[in-house]
Amino acid sequence: MGSFLETLFGGLMVGMLYSLIALGFVLIYKASGVFNFAQGAMVLFAALAMARFAEWIPKLTGLEDKFLGNTIAFALAALVMVVLAWLIQKLVLGKLVNQEGITLLMATLGITYFLEGSGQALFGNDIYKIDIGMPKDPIFILDGSFPGGLLVNKEDLYAAVIAAVLVALLAIFFQKTATGRALRAVADDHQAAQSIGIPLDRIWVIVWSVAGIVALVAGVIWGSKLGVQFSLSLVALKALPVVILGGLTSIPGAIIGGLIIGVGEKLSEIYLGPHLGGGIEIWFAYVLALAFLLVRPQGLFGEKIIDRV
């Protein structure tokens, strides 16, 4: 029982991070119908910016305080992501309004390569560290109920809390502010939103900015765990099964899908792994997503598309 719960917790925490990346996909897809292939590259780009800013700021200004340095670096990286969102809208997507989904997808594929290339050209292509002072030591909880307690990685716990707070903030933003309401309106019906004077251009810049900042948070967390390197952009591939599972149009779906994939991966590795020769974690998510596509192509919470024939 103890080891089951340990695995479950571990899975939930990794799952929270998958959710975070999946959220980036969902935000943009919902608001503009663009499947943003560049979400992974945005994570890499944001993490690179954060890592290098955090390195450069103390060097250039002689700032000693690490927390302050990190905060400024984060704010600057967030600013970079907002500017990037604006550029993407003005230079690429703004020119492609009303084009087919596949055209938009190809455009984001182009953005992916541009971000991967320019990110490494601007910020370097080594492996960088992000040190935001995450504790690395494990802790033991519930030692009353289980012999020896449950081992929980403190870093994962912090990361999960940060992700949860971000999700809560986004929920408040979407539900409680007038801009959030306008975003939801655009997500529901472009034409109607335009007719009541909601400027689509501005809304899309906001959505891409929010997705950029979500990518930044994901990048910082993954980066501090694994180091900032090119492979970070591949983390996004793990989010694809999550959005298939949760539904491309559902924010709760992204979160629950992420948790299911995270937990499923870990549990299957422990319980099925020995029978199948191990290494299940790598492909489990995709098989789960595939099975899901057969049963519920719209995902757990996605909108079922009913076409009149």
Partner: protein, 261 residues
């Protein structure tokens, strides 16, 4: 309807032609709409009524001709700019925000009137809070006016069709428009719902002085509530005048009933 005071020309449509590739949707349409009037555009299926409305709304840009709003002429406008000039519209096939509540749907209509920025809203600063309350008051009045108080928090996707049409109207009213474009406001309604909707349209026109341009299929309703009627057929204007004039116009009769041989 007799006795209504109408004012100066507020929407002036001059020689509009609209083509989609080789298909001529509208040819050389000219008419005007006077302040405070209820102006109907009628015609059989495919006559170009919705295309006409979409031109006024900025969704389509006609290849020829110009439209002026309050004397300001434009040939290329997008719906957002038209909305800023005080023109609101409703949709033939409900284009509501289905996942959102009635209240939120109508609140989106206040979007152009919101002055606070994103950061003030996010932090719920005083100004943003006060603004939200003020807009909420306007929206509550609209909800009362349309008699949908009981549905305030219901997601519109779950409401009966006739009531969804009212929410669509409510969202447009929330913009406090000078001109209101209604695209088949009574399509698919039963007699009772049609009567309710007619009453709301007349009340809007009467109480707020809003100019109304209305497309309708149902001749009966149109003749009852409109001041003047434009009749389109195959993208051409075949009649224009008071309901009585239009009703006795031989071209209109043959368009609706077929030519008498």
């Amino acid at each position: 309807m007799a006795g209504r005071q109408t004012g100066d020309v507020i929407v002036d449509v001059r020689n509009i032609s609209l083509r989609f590739g080789g298909v001529k949707a509208l040819s050389d349409i000219t008419f005007d709409v006077r302040e405070h009037e209820i102006r109907a555009i009628i015609g059989p299926n495919g006559a170009g009524k919705s295309s006409m409305l979409n031109c006024i709304n900025g969704v389509y840009q006609p290849q020829e001709g110009a439209i002026s709003l309050r004397g300001k002429t434009f040939s290329k406008m997008n719906p957002h700019q038209v909305a800023e000039m005080g023109v609101a519209r409703t949709f033939q096939n409900l284009a509501l925000f289905k996942g959102m509540s009635v209240l939120d749907n109508i609140m989106t209509g206040r979007n152009l009137k919101m002055k606070t920025n994103l950061f003030q809203q996010a932090l719920r600063w005083g100004a943003a809070e006060r603004e939200e309350t003020a807009h909420r008051r306007v929206v509550e009045n609209i909800i009362d006016f349309l008699e949908i108080q009981a549905y305030r928090k219901t997601p519109v996707g779950k409401m009966p069709y006739g009531l969804q049409k009212r929410v669509d109207l409510g969202r447009a009213l929330a913009m406090e428009p000078q001109v209101l474009l209604l695209d088949e406001p009574m399509a698919g309604m039963n007699v009772e719902e049609k009567q309710d909707m007619s009453r709301f349209i007349l009340d809007v026109n009467d109480e707020f002085g809003t100019t109304i341009v209305l497309i309708e299929h149902d001749m009966g309703v149109v003749m009852d509530i409109s001041d003047r009627v434009v009749v389109l057929d195959y993208g051409r204007k075949i009649g224009d005048g008071s309901p009585d004039e239009v009703r006795n116009n031989p071209d209109v009769i043959s368009a609706y009933l077929g030519t008498v041989h």
